[in-house]
């Protein structure tokens, strides 16, 4: 009861705080100024999402199969080497990565997509490998002993039991991805970074916020959506959320 009371009070405080903040910003004229950018914002959100979607999709299409291949007995010996290489891609600072990508792909969205792809790949590959390795060996032995082919074992036993961990990786990867897209502006990739960096340069907080707030909201929204996918897609028997 005490905890529920505390949580209730906290919730009211947050609502009240948000309301007060809104009233204050309205009084200062910040909100109308932000809304003044709405046309730019809708255009840039689309661009932002396109960059994130393309790089994310490529990372999914490459990362999950790569993770699967690296857990097959024939290729398992390469797993460590490959994860090291992918790891290296993440260790390089994002800005440096963008610069390197630009130096051989030119400016515009292709180098931005490439850099985002490299960044997104690691959590997906690592979690695919970790998820598949976490499937107990005796389940695989039972499946083999019952006469499943390796493909059937992968589809019916390994992937369903690993999908929760794999999706957790996808969730992290996409959150990083969408939060990093603003940097694409620096190499002419577009996206909400255009408003953020221009706002900084012009010392115009309303423009800065018009870029920053949607970026933050998008990250939260994508995280929520993948969380929902995780909730509904993972089979009930192995879903710790259900």
């Amino acid at each position: 009861m005490a905890r529920a009371g505390l949580a209730g009070t906290l919730r009211w405080l947050v609502v009240f705080g948000a309301f007060a903040l809104g009233a204050w910003l309205q009084a200062r004229g910040t909100i109308p100024a932000i809304l003044g950018h709405s046309q730019d914002v809708t255009y840039l959100i689309r661009q932002h999402l396109t960059l994130a979607a393309i790089s994310g999709a490529i990372a999914l299409v490459v990362g999950i199969p790569l993770g699967i291949v690296l857990t097959r007995p024939r290729f398992e010996i390469f797993a460590d080497a490959v994860t090291q290489i992918v790891n290296l891609g993440t260790t390089i600072p994002t800005l440096a990565l963008l610069a390197i990508a630009m130096s051989f792909l030119g400016i515009g969205s292709p180098p931005a997509i490439f850099a985002l792809f490299v960044l997104t790949l690691l959590p997906i590959v690592l979690n695919t490998i970790a998820g598949l390795r976490s499937v107990p060996q005796h389940l695989i032995e039972a499946a083999r002993g019952m006469g499943m082919t390796p493909g059937q074992i992968l589809r019916r036993v390994e992937l369903p039991n690993a999908v929760f961990v794999i999706l957790a990786g996808v969730r992290t990867a996409f959150a990083i991805n969408i939060g990093t897209v603003p940097l694409a502006f620096l190499i002419g990739g577009g996206g909400l970074g255009e408003l953020i960096f221009t706002g900084i340069d012009l010392m115009e907080p309303s423009m800065l916020l018009a870029g920053a707030i949607p970026t933050a909201l998008l990250a939260v929204l994508i995280d929520f959506l993948i969380g929902q996918i995780q909730f509904w897609l993972v089979p009930k028997g192995v879903n710790p959320l259900r």
């Binding site: 107990p136 005796h138 039972a142 499946a143 019952m146 006469g147």
Partner: protein, 368 residues
């Protein structure tokens, strides 16, 4: 049904299984027994080719397993492992239907089969079919593990310490259930165990392994009565003759057609009957032959009257279908040297004495 000819398995320079020859007849339960690392599990896994043999041939139902597609072979052989291995992402129903689905059975048929099988192990299908493995207790999971192996009705079953992970009380219950099932289904079963008591209970043949070699392959009674060497006799334990009690039914050691008296008979009749048979006591039966009580000779000699007036309650009875272990245990519990044997309805069928039990146990040594 299953025949191994000179089967060997080498892992590098290590010889895990060394030229095994054995045959498991149809409907038999063959328990492979031995200390860990003796090659019993490897031998079993070579039957469904989970482990490919280095040399030698294995025949299942007359067909050389090397000539059959390994996936098809495994689908035709039931497989139960110690860790149960139910797939946590599937419901109990889906788990049971794995092999039927792989074989392409129509869904209606396999689902009906799943319900029947659950019923056979006393799990209510309406409750359990749609549950997930994690919602079941260990014992329930193991029952599902066993019926899953039976789903496509394979003639042969391989079981790798299937009851090893269950607590002792539940293990006994599941073993009994399984033996009842097996009496009905008559599958050919290869069963790996390291527990001699389990082996004695389940097996029609026991195969004892050591260091990759098959040391002795015989009926449980012969393994216990005539261990081939010091290793086997040590492995089966110094109380091996006591273990044999479990293999013999009360009927086999019982003196049938015993003398009996009724309540209305006089003590004189009772004394006469006892003298005739050389007994010191006699069982009194009811009007339709149920065992009711007992009259002792010393008592009957001293007194006059009818049996009904001087009877004492029976010190202990044993069902004729029980094994001698139960009978001996009863004797020690009640401090007597004989027990009245009754059938399921309580009718007096005969009696066992310590002497008759000793005779039955000793018979095998006198013959040889």
């Amino acid at each position: 049904m299953i025949r191994l000819e000179q089967v060997s398995k080498h892992f590098g320079t290590m010889i895990a299984v060394d030229r095994i020859d054995m045959e498991v007849p149809a409907g038999a339960v063959c328990v492979m027994l031995g200390p860990s690392g003796c090659g019993k599990t490897t031998t079993m896994k070579m039957i469904n080719r989970l482990i490919p043999p280095t040399s030698g041939r294995i025949y299942v139902d007359g067909k050389d397993t090397a000539a059959v597609d390994e996936v098809a072979l495994r689908r035709s052989i039931g497989y139960v492992i110690q860790q149960i291995g139910l797939f946590p992402n599937m419901t109990i129903e889906e788990n049971i239907c794995v092999v039927p689905d792989l074989l392409g059975w129509p869904a209606a048929k396999s689902r009906k089969r799943a319900a029947e099988l659950l019923d056979m192990v006393n799990l209510d299908p309406s409750v359990f079919l749609k549950r997930y493995p994690k919602q079941l207790s260990g014992g329930q999971q193991q029952r599902v593990g066993v019926v899953r192996a039976l789903a496509a009705d394979p003639p042969v079953l391989l079981m790798d310490e299937p009851f090893g992970a269950i607590d002792p009380i539940n293990r006994e219950v599941i073993q009994d259930e399984f033996m009842k099932l097996q009496a009905e289904l008559k599958k050919t079963i290869v069963f790996v165990s390291h527990d001699i008591d389990e082996a004695v209970k389940m097996a029609s043949r026991i195969a004892i392994f050591r260091d990759g070699k098959l040391i002795q392959y015989d009926t449980p009674d012969n393994i216990l009565a005539h261990p081939i060497d010091a290793f086997v006799s040590e492995f089966v334990g110094s109380d091996r003759t006591l273990k044999r009690l479990r293999l013999i039914k009360v009927t086999d050691a019982m003196m049938a057609e015993p003398p009996r008296v009724r309540a209305e008979d006089t003590l004189d009749t009772a004394v006469k009957l006892m003298d005739e048979h050389g007994h010191v006591s006699i069982v009194m039966v009811g009007p339709r032959g149920r065992a009711r009580g007992v009259v002792r000779l010393e008592e009957a000699r001293e007194r006059k009257g009818t049996v009904g007036e001087h009877q004492e309650p029976l010190p202990g009875v044993v069902n004729i279908r029980d094994d001698l272990r139960t009978a001996v245990s009863q004797m020690f519990t009640h401090g007597v040297t004989w027990l009245a044997c009754v059938d399921d309805d309580g009718f007096y069928k005969g009696y066992v004495t310590q002497k008759s039990i000793t005779q039955v146990l000793g018979a095998t040594y006198r013959e040889s």
